[in-house]
Subunit: 411 residues, 2 copies
């Protein structure tokens, strides 16, 4: 069964905002039995929008739109759907009350006059509640074909998607289910992964693809079946086979992040963690604390952007003098100092050169990562592609978390 996605926003056409909503939806629709035929990005322009929407609505059982549900004159999605379905918009009293309550809960007694657009409906549309923002979505259905209008802010969209849209699609679409599984490996090159996975590659269903990512090589399994059970019967054996082949090189599955994997290990063992970082500038701690519940195991960290602060935080001055601040010795000492000063079971130290300038004669991309636990400390040297400061930081953070995971697996 076919679907199309239409994303609206002049800023998308001008390259100012990257449209991530369409790929969010595109990656989720196949598992619901919907094949994406086309994605179209249009400006905030009623006539052009309606033209694209009409074409999609006429030929697809499902059309998904994102954006254009705000309160301004630029927000034309509601008008476009009304036009395509040949109906008139009108203020829905229930939706008006929802909006008024929302504004009151935010301490505003009056709703700005223009927000009334967000209470509009047409006879063929029902409102989809927005758990976060002011814009409800629309589930509009006429002549057996559906237009689902979703808001542009990704967080509002994903909440609405999971909570309201997916259950309704599942009820509607039966018969062809696509299941996927992503196995995330680290420590092996793409060509080697390809070779090791030979026996499951080159098959149409389940299809296995390999993808090089900043945090390793991913293997993606896509299985299609008439029912979920049938798709699962195809998927599971390949999933098990890949896990057996790659063993300890597998660090996560599907949406799992390495910070979640490490967090779950720390929580499971009742261990605490502290960090001392220089070149990553706080990104390591920030990534660790992106995980809900991380305050249960993360004690804190120091961002030692100067040598004085490294020394004041417990790194021996003579090590910096002898080896330089960017060295294995200092990375180990930072890990040990973080562990000791912050009273944690494990310490991580990261020192390196984020760029664009070299430091202590070491080129951008040079990074040392130390891990300390009750058994002592050790450090590893890394050399990342140095073309982008934030990317060097990001790779150093991922590598530090993967090193921490390896250390926990040994311990």
């Amino acid at each position: 069964m076919y679907a199309e996605i239409i994303a609206s926003g002049t800023e998308l056409l001008m390259g100012e905002t990257q449209d991530t909503n369409s790929s969010y939806l595109g990656s989720r629709l196949p598992a619901l039995g919907l094949e994406v035929r086309q994605i179209t990005l249009v400006g905030d322009h009623l006539e052009r929008y309606a033209e694209v929407l009409e074409r999609s609505w006429r030929r697809n059982p499902f059309t998904f739109t994102t954006g254009g549900l705000g309160p301004t004159v630029d927000d034309v999605t509601r008008e476009a759907i009304a036009q395509v379905m040949g109906e008139q918009v009108q203020v829905d009293e229930e939706q008006r009350q929802v909006l008024l309550r929302l504004f009151r809960s935010r301490g505003q007694q009056d709703m700005p006059a223009r927000n009334i657009k967000q209470a509009w409906l047409i006879p063929s549309a029902r409102a989809i509640p927005n758990g976060v923002g002011t814009a409800p979505g629309w589930w509009a259905e006429k002549e057996g074909r559906v237009i689902v209008a979703l808001p542009g802010p990704p967080r509002e969209l994903s909440l609405m998607w999971d909570g309201h849209v997916v259950p309704q699609i599942k009820e509607r679409v039966k018969g062809s289910v696509v299941l996927t599984r992503t196995i995330k490996t680290i420590g092996l090159g793409e060509a080697l992964v390809d070779e090791m996975a030979t026996e499951v590659l080159g098959v149409a269903n389940p299809y296995v693809g390999t993808y090089a990512k900043p945090d390793g090589i991913y293997l993606r399994v896509i299985a299609r079946g008439g029912t979920e059970a049938e798709a699962r019967r195809l998927l599971d054996p390949v999933d098990h086979k890949l896990r057996a082949i790659f063993g300890k090189n597998v660090w996560g599955v599907d949406d799992e992040s390495v910070e979640e994997t490490v967090g779950a290990m720390l929580r499971g063992r009742g261990l605490t963690l502290a960090t001392m970082e220089s070149c990553t500038g706080g990104m390591l701690a920030s990534t660790i604390t992106d995980v809900p519940g991380s305050s249960g195991y993360f004690r804190g960290g120091v961002i030692s952007y100067t040598n004085e602060l490294k020394i004041a935080s417990g790194v021996p001055a003579h090590l910096i003098e002898a080896h330089g601040a960017v060295s294995e010795q200092v990375a180990s000492a930072m890990a040990q100092a973080a562990r000791a000063r912050l009273g944690a079971d494990l310490g991580v130290g990261v020192t390196g050169v984020a760029g664009p300038e070299a430091l202590e004669g070491k080129p951008p991309g040079t990074v040392y990562i130390g891990i300390a636990d009750a058994r002592g400390a050790k450090a590893t040297a890394y050399r990342f592609p140095a073309n982008n400061r934030t990317l060097v930081k990001r790779r150093a953070v991922t590598s530090a978390l993967i090193a921490l995971r390896a250390s926990l697996l040994e311990g």
Copy 2:
């Protein structure tokens, strides 16, 4: 003058690869006098591709395609252009020699048979040299309308774009230049911004649009003129008017990030900065250190995820006891402690509840930001939408940087 962009690749529709080529082109076309009317993503499917291409070619002087120029059967761009223009593809001897030389220079005596597709041309197309890969682009022109076919790999595309396509477009398109200006505001809701900007909204040229972003509401001015000077004469008065209307609520312009704005102010005044953060978990320091050269003014930071670490870092224990760790008083004390302990001119303290759980009876989204300088310290309370931990952190970081900017403006 209008243009459309068509990106091909089934992986784009499945959300496996993000289409960054279209936004690359979209951000560059307006300055060349071309307005992007639509961007379409299609699968590797000749019939669907040709349908979209034909519609675009019939109505636009320029169509740009990306992808589908590889050697496999999935690469259908050349076939689609031939079909739309009603011509036959044939092997071009010159292009065949170019390909053979390329394979030989890579140490391969034989060219794989399927690569011969990459030497195809049609009578209405010229080849555009590819400085990196095997796929030449096409400049196809018939009935006064142009299709420019560019390869999918971003590096091949950008080299071809700058070296060959831009000069040809400049020769062709005269007389219409588009200039844009983005004014970034903070502290006002979208509806209010819309209301305040009423007098410049609803005009076609220069056109003003409003966009809600995590770091405030953006106003985007788009001016078109026959020459750059003419476009500027339209743009500048609106630009000045908006800055006058929004005054101190404006924190940046165009691509400027608030961390860059603050960094430039610190560098210009020879001031140094230190941070102490709890709920943002290092994201504030990480954002500050995303700016190249930040080691010139950023001394470092402490991530005090526990009360012990706050106290050990210089926050008076009695303040935490009296007011709780999540309080204005502690935010101020954290800013002062960061400044004093790390020997910086300015200190920022951030304490709050990232969620999903409440803390000390305060709901997720509650954040206090303290700024300390030689004059003393003060803190401000914030309440962010609490639906997502990383988003609360991101908003707290942006607000802290904006508060720091405001403090620098006063000082």
